[in-house]
Assembly symmetry: C2
Homo-oligomer: 148 residues x 2
């Protein structure tokens, strides 16, 4: 895997250069769930320790996780989401929703709810002008500066 996103004209490719391997997104999913320590990631995911070590280092280098000292004697560190890492939550939600829709039998394994009212949440693409949800068939893409 390359070390950093190159000059790419595609943000999807740039993103995948950082979290587009078999483990990184699962590590981040665990971090969202409240898993923070090396041994906890390792036990929960069943990932090899050397790979976990490598992936955590990568994610810290790219400022997606931060390594935080949580104990002094002995010195021990844990891994917590940065703002940049937390900003991946829509991506994880999207992937979860797709799995829910196409693979979960008998309802999704996990439901996201609004902490204020307990309502199950929905994720959608919406148009601020028309003030409505937009289905994929009505989405076009455009390169800025290029008229279509």
């Amino acid at each position: 895997m390359p070390d950093a996103p190159q000059e790419l004209d595609c943000s999807i490719a740039a993103t995948l250069e950082i979290i587009g391997d078999r483990w990184s997104l699962l590590i981040l999913r665990d971090a969202f769930r409240g898993v923070h320590r090396f041994s906890a990631f390792q036990e929960d995911l069943g990932i090899a320790k050397n790979l976990l070590s490598d992936r955590l280092r990568r994610l810290v280098e790219h400022d997606v996780l931060e390594r935080v000292r949580y104990q002094d004697r002995p010195v021990r560190y844990e891994y917590r989401l940065t703002a940049k890492g937390a900003d991946l939550s829509p991506a994880l939600i999207s992937l979860m929703r797709w799995g829910d829709r196409w693979y979960a039998e008998g309802g999704p394994p996990t439901v996201l709810i609004h902490d204020h009212c307990g309502t199950p949440l929905i994720q959608e693409v919406s148009c601020p002008t028309c003030d409505e949800a937009v289905s994929p068939r009505h989405i076009r893409s455009r390169k800025p500066g290029v008229d279509v």
Copy 2:
């Protein structure tokens, strides 16, 4: 890579078993952009032909793409998104948005617009009860059947 999503209590893991390798999401991104033929994928992505062949076969097996005959003499096939594949668009949009936010200098390389009015679109998590967008800090998750 395993062949099919196992019985997992996590839809993210289930999803990643299908599209969680280095190339699949890039292939699908291209498919959304209108790339459909083997040689076009190969040229656009720079992927090795044997891997492209393997990934396309996998995606067809999992009903994310379908193999469509587009010519009879000689018989040739192309690859098009199924409904299931098209339903990955929110995930690709989320990943794109993250790359835009954290890696694009001078604005995102690509903007999504509403085909009716040309307005740039936004993706958000919203609460149908409160009728408002919900920020990640106000999202809780819950396992169905488990009271929290």
